[in-house]
Amino acid sequence: MKILVAIKQVPDTATQVKVGADGKAIDTAGITWIVSPYDEYAVEEALRIKEKRGQGEVVAVSLGPDRVKEAIRSCLAMGCDRAIHLNDPAWNDADTLTTAKALAAVIKQEAPQLVLCGRQAIDDDMGAVTAQLAELLGWPCAYWIMEETVDADGKSVRAARQAEGGLEVFDLPLPAILAAQKGLNEPRYPTLKGIMGAKKKEIKDVKAGDLGLGAEPPQLAVIGLEALPPRPPGRVIQGDVPAAVKELVRALREDAKAI
């Protein structure tokens, strides 16, 4: 069974980010990059499906500039068999729909039975690519999945998605697309052997033209980035616990009107 995992490289969650010179993107100097955490759950799940079935192929796909190779390598080090790097300046201003169109074109060429994505990339937090891919491919889709099992014949997948108030379980005929939620699994760390082996695995560079796509302006454009408005300075309430608690409740009621 062939499984494709779409991954995104994002700034490390602890990195400081600053607005760049054009005011529309961040200044990438000095940023540490990681694979978006939800995508690691997707990679892990794909590898587990392959291992459980004892055969198959896991292909990692990522869209982004040259630096994205590093994120692709870590997925190869985790155990993905090969990778595709969608690397073209035509995608510099890609919004979720442009990204989904590029990924959908690759998926049509690769024809996997299952596509896994992370619930959302933690840079722009849009959380839309999985659903938009499902739409462009005309596939069923389950969001925020907490567990899944592919049936023995590889014809369908049973997935439990997180919904308000409970888990909803569905059978999806394959091919299908799933968005991984935290809690699906515990991603493995690459082993030294995995890291060494990753250097020999194939990463195919693909340009928009290779997929028959042109440079389309994005449907959603960033017109400016701003720092957060600073929060008003806070106050540590002094005194022994009973006195501090009394004062806190008074302040919440009378000053903040929060209770």
Partner: protein
């Protein structure tokens, strides 16, 4: 009506719209400078629900009611919604951030070939152009975004927008358009209900109490639940507490959990790691109780108490009880 602001209804699956719809309708009315329209895809719309939407300011409710719409499947909803959108050409399509609307609205935007702005915290009209503001990079920055063409599709973060005041007697015109209902390929197996806590849902609650590693053990969350019952709060947790197995993942607040924006957030034994702040920094009032005066959460807290939470929590519960009994 062409150029209308549409608000997709999130309901409780029992025929009543959730109260977050007052916020979505309120913001849509402000931007439209008139009455927005609600679109309700459901297997059961109730008269009480239609009345509620009218009182919250919907001028019209489009009711798409069919057994095939439950349980929610994007492949079924999107076809019906897109057919109506093609006929009616709304100017904007809004929904609240909920697990299903995040998927549905994104898929609908792809069907319509338009941009999507998810999890917005602000909107402005610049001349004729709608501009949305949304947090990015774990809420460290705000992005202003605009659409190349309409309809402008967006989801709105709960508890951020001013809710419409319910006006008793105000009613919505109800229209039940005929739309074709796409066949489903995914089949429903079962729903596993979570054990009911009797407390509000984390994402929608106006007050959230959050317990971190400082809670020390799963059984200690009882003291937060006691306080929560007194003030009508939800109880969440940090990732440290979730990863320790003290609370299920659905209660995690932060970058890899829920994003919340309550009127009041109170953290107990939470250090305030950047990834935790990502999920709660747009809260209106932040209270921190931590025994370490250097804990980073104090940097963004409006009120802090440096003390042992096990002394503070029972005292605070008593004090809230006293206040609310008055």
């Amino acid at each position: 009506m062409p150029n209308a602001f549409w608000c997709f209804v999130e309901d409780d699956r029992q025929g009543m719209p959730k109260k977050v719809m007052a916020e979505v309708l309120g913001e849509a009315a402000r931007l439209a400078g008139g009455q927005p329209e609600a679109v309700w895809i459901t297997d059961k719309a109730s008269d009480a629900g239609l009345t509620q939407l009218g009182e919250w300011g919907a001028g019209k409710v489009w009711v798409l009611e069919n057994a095939a719409f439950a349980p929610y499947r994007s492949e079924v909803w999107v076809g019906a919604a897109a057919e109506l959108a093609a006929k009616e050409s709304p100017r904007a399509i809004f929904g609240p951030v909920t697990s299903r609307q995040r998927e549905f609205v994104a898929r609908l935007a792809a069907r319509l070939g338009v941009g999507l702005a998810a999890d917005c915290v602000g909107f402005a009209l610049e001349g004729d152009r709608l501009v949305a503001t949304r947090p990015i990079y774990a809420g460290k920055l705000l992005a202003k975004v605009a659409w190349a063409k309409g309809p402008c599709v967006a989801t709105l973060r709960p508890n951020v927008f001013r809710p419409a005041d319910a006006q008793p007697g105000r009613t919505a015109a109800v229209e039940r358009p005929a739309v074709s209902i796409p066949g489903a390929t995914m089949t429903f197996v079962e729903r596993r209900e979570e054990a009911a806590t009797g407390l509000p849902e984390l994402a929608e609650a106006e007050i959230v109490l959050s317990g971190g590693r400082g809670m020390k053990a799963p059984e200690n969350y009882v003291i937060l639940e006691d306080m929560a019952r007194v003030i009508g709060a939800a109880v969440g947790a940090s990732r440290a507490a979730v990863d320790a197995g003290w609370r299920p993942h659905r209660f995690q607040i932060g970058q890899t959990g829920r994003t919340i924006s309550p009127k009041l957030y109170m953290g107990f034994g939470v250090s305030g790691a950047i990834q935790h702040l990502a999920g709660m920094r747009t809260s209106k009032i932040i209270v921190a109780v931590n025994k370490d005066p250097e804990a980073p959460i104090f940097k963004i807290a409006d009120y802090g108490i440096v003390a042992d939470l096990f002394e503070v929590v029972p005292e605070l519960t008593r004090e809230f009880k006293r206040l609310l009994e008055k």
